[in-house]
Symmetry: C2
Subunit: 523 residues, 2 copies
């Protein structure tokens, strides 16, 4: 397929900005649009929440530099990565690599501060970097759960369901990656089914496999079938999320995948997962310094593989219950620590992935949304551009919850209004309305209210805002049961976005051929 | 009772600061203390979240000035208030008062930027202003609800129960005011029972009645019995929360109460409750400008009644469902608007009350904690010093929920850790720990972890952080059912703080005498 088949995004960047600008974007919409119409992504209209002063930031950066120079990072099972480091001038001693202060920052200058990820429907392209905010579903749970059937292993049917739910939500912007593990498909082949499902059931941006170099490459190859080989070489169309094996170890599986994405000019997301007290220090400042060191090394490696390749500075701080040793999620220390991560990423001029809608609850209950909301707000406050785990995360990421997915997606909608900030202009200041209404009267029917009410307030599809008596008569539902009803209705109403028959056939043939070339493996 | 009987707060302000400083404060505690020991209030260690630039702030202030100068505010049923305004040079035309731009700001210069509210136990004194954050229970619900008995009218027994629950929580700092309406006590006498209950069952700071001038004065008189007349004349020991009748009307009931508190050198909290689209414009900027105008007028009136009296700049932005006309709570527009309110209050150099743990849910469910958490975080981010409605608020403030009270108080605990920010020093940067652990090992038993783990992470009493299997075996509880168990246990374990017998008798005699002087009224 030729790149000529691929339409460029409609309109200029400037037009997209206007369209995506939260409330302003909505106001610019047609009268016939739903009250809050979909934007392909958010352009934040509020500043980031910068909590740390220059001196402390410098101390954290200095500590990261000293970790890199004095302790170093081990790169296992990847001789090419070690060769890259040698060529770049790092001190390579066996598997251990040490870095002069400033070296990684210098290498990182070639990485773009912002880039476009292209979707097969160009209207759904997302910008990742700067003031953009992109919401993607949770990633990586082996289990799924819902109120009817409880918790069980995820299947390819669940996987497709979540793609359909994400595609149906106006408030998510991205189809995500391994939304749940489809354990009914062989381990060595499921990446093909997952990528196909993203391409088939969604027309938004998505993520590929990272669990082996060939799986990363095959994920990218499927993207090439859809977008065209040349287009993919020049543009980002797929992301790969790679994890550091903290503390201070990069495993070969991950660096092979990282390099595969970079080599193809696709964006790797570089993510240390640091459970404070286990994979890093129990104190936030030290865990943040470690995270900075590990992420800088991973991001820099993408630039050594292919200078100028897009890359995302990722982060996943977490805490643990020091009574039981269990990991905890959606807790205050990682939430406030994320603000500092945001500041550090911006000082490197890199796009940021940070935080998400985390919870350790085993139900879509009050705990789930207390932890999730605190954590998700930290993501948007810290300036994260790509927010993985925006919807569905429960059970410490072991389970993808259908009900929480729907509640979280609804909250993502609320965040569109939140990130629009407080617009100040003659219309919003409403001095004429005060003159019209005067003292002691109500604004319900005044001209200003009539002109503005359709876009004034977020309108949740999950919250019950009826008076108690009406709620009582209507069956005394809780949020989880309303979400249960909603995901079923959404799946029933789902319509697949159109896909060109030849493209579909080409994808299916590639899958079949690739699967046939190897025996099933289940571990 | 003489003021000599009243102990001054232990230690200097400087010592209190250290003790109250969140995680640092905890670290300074004894080894035998619980992991997260109680602080009398929080000194925030993170900056406020200032989202609006100077130009927009000036436009909002200018709009408030024009509302005050061109439209004005009506002061009903309070000739003394009108006299005050005349003397101050305002343009008084019947009940309508108009203010020259700058006039109210000038008057407000005499109000303190920060003040101490004294508790009968001086260890529980709170500072209101500057970097302090004080959590108080929700205020004003006619109904109460719990999982066992559902929703019903509040009684004096419920009222006492909530005081006991607040007093038992290490994470609330203040006993609040009308936690719920005790509808089994006559309307004209219940303020006496409420103030007595706060004084008897709590030894923290509290609030008095505002529903009539004599009730405000009798509330203050009871405080005088406990603290001594001279002490009360020199120090704030009771707060009164007065509401504007928005838009742009101050009712006499409220200004009489406001003046009673100011006259006694006690702090009035001046709160417009603006439901956007009803009591104010449907757009945030206009509602904020109106709120600023109304609050400045109320705060200034306290200074005309008694120059230098403490006063709190209050605010309660809200939104409405434009499908049903119902008020909504915990929604994004008031949350982000609160940040601007915070900036405006600081420009006036006044202590701030703003936001709280709001929700419109009728159950302690996912909706309750999604809305509550967003709203409560806006309170701490905007720099509110006194956060009324920190715990228990459900059903659009019509119901006080036992379970949500417990969950909210637990979240207030998490906010102690959150507001401690990210401390950067040699210990927290943990470079020695990296040297000890090296690459690829875990930090679980290293010296740094052992030295820091007890204070490292917030430890929720409500969240279930066990693995799924253990949670399953333990009975698959949700957060609400755990909270249900916890409030019952807390009430069973409650012990009243000691009260001097003579003081108790004096209070009871005053109550009896005051009640006997008038017939019961039930409306």
């Amino acid at each position: 397929m030729d790149t000529a088949d691929i339409a460029e995004p409609r309109g200029s960047r400037g037009q997209r900005r206007e369209r995506a600008g939260g409330r302003d974007g909505r106001r610019a919409g047609q009268g016939a649009q739903p009250l809050h119409h979909k934007a392909p992504y958010i352009i934040r209209n509020i500043p980031t929440y910068d909590i740390m002063g220059e001196e402390s930031l410098l101390r954290i950066e200095d500590t990261a530099d000293r970790i890199l120079a004095e302790i170093g990072i081990e790169f296992r099972d990847d001789p090419v990565a070690l060769e890259h480091w040698k060529s770049a001038g790092a001190d390579v001693d066996g598997l251990l690599v040490r870095f002069e202060p400033g070296m990684l920052r210098e290498i990182l200058k070639s990485a773009p501060a912002s880039f476009t990820q292209h979707a097969r429907n160009p209207a759904n392209n997302v910008e990742i970097g700067g003031k953009s905010v992109v919401f993607a579903p949770a990633y990586g749970s082996p289990f799924v759960m819902d109120l009817d059937k409880g918790r069980r292993y995820g299947t390819i049917e669940d996987f497709r369901n979540f793609i359909k739910l994400a595609q149906s939500s106006p408030w998510l912007h991205h189809s995500g990656g391994t939304i749940c593990e489809p354990v009914d498909v062989p381990v060595n082949k499921r990446h093909l089914d997952m990528v196909y499902a993203h391409l088939k059931y969604s027309d938004r941006c998505f993520m590929g496999s990272v669990t082996a170099e060939n799986r990363a490459e095959e994920s990218i190859e499927m993207a090439r079938i859809v977008f065209g080989r040349d287009f993919v070489d020049r543009n980002c169309v797929i992301l790969g999320n790679v994890n550091v094996n903290s503390p201070l170890v990069w495993d070969g599986t991950m660096t092979h995948a990282l390099r595969a994405y970079a080599r193809a000019n696709q964006a790797a997301v570089i993510v240390p997962f640091i459970l404070g007290g286990a994979m890093g220090p129990v104190t936030n400042a030290g865990a943040i310094a470690q995270s900075l060191a590990e992420t800088m090394a991973g991001c820099a490696l993408t630039q050594l593989e292919r200078k100028g390749a897009p890359v995302i500075f990722g982060n996943f701080l977490s805490s643990m219950s020091l009574r039981s040793g269990s990991p905890t999620f959606g807790t205050p220390e990682p939430a406030i620590g994320s603000m500092v991560i945001g500041q550090l990423a911006r000082r490197l001029n890199l796009p940021l992935r940070c935080a998400g809608n985390f919870s350790n609850s085993k139900l879509p209950d009050a705990q789930a949304m207390n932890e999730g909301t605190m954590s998700m707000l930290s993501a948007v406050h810290c300036g994260a551009n790509f927010i993985l785990h925006s919807a569905g995360f429960l059970d410490g990421l072991l389970s993808m919850s259908y009900e929480k997915f729907v509640m979280d997606a609804d909250f993502c909608g609320a965040l569109h209004s939140y990130l629009a900030g407080v617009v100040v202009d003659d219309n919003t200041l409403a001095l004429d309305a005060f003159r019209e209404v005067g003292v002691g009267k109500h604004f319900l029917g005044c001209a200003h209210t009539m002109e503005n009410y359709q876009t004034a307030f977020w309108d949740s599809a999950i919250a019950d805002n009826e008076p108690f008596e009406k709620w009582d008569i209507a069956g005394r539902t809780d949020a989880a049961s309303r979400a249960n009803k909603r995901w079923k209705q959404t799946l029933a109403d789902y319509e697949a976005p159109p896909m060109d028959e030849a493209t579909d056939q080409a994808l299916l043939e590639y899958m079949e051929r690739t699967k046939a070339a190897q025996a099933d493996a289940w571990y």
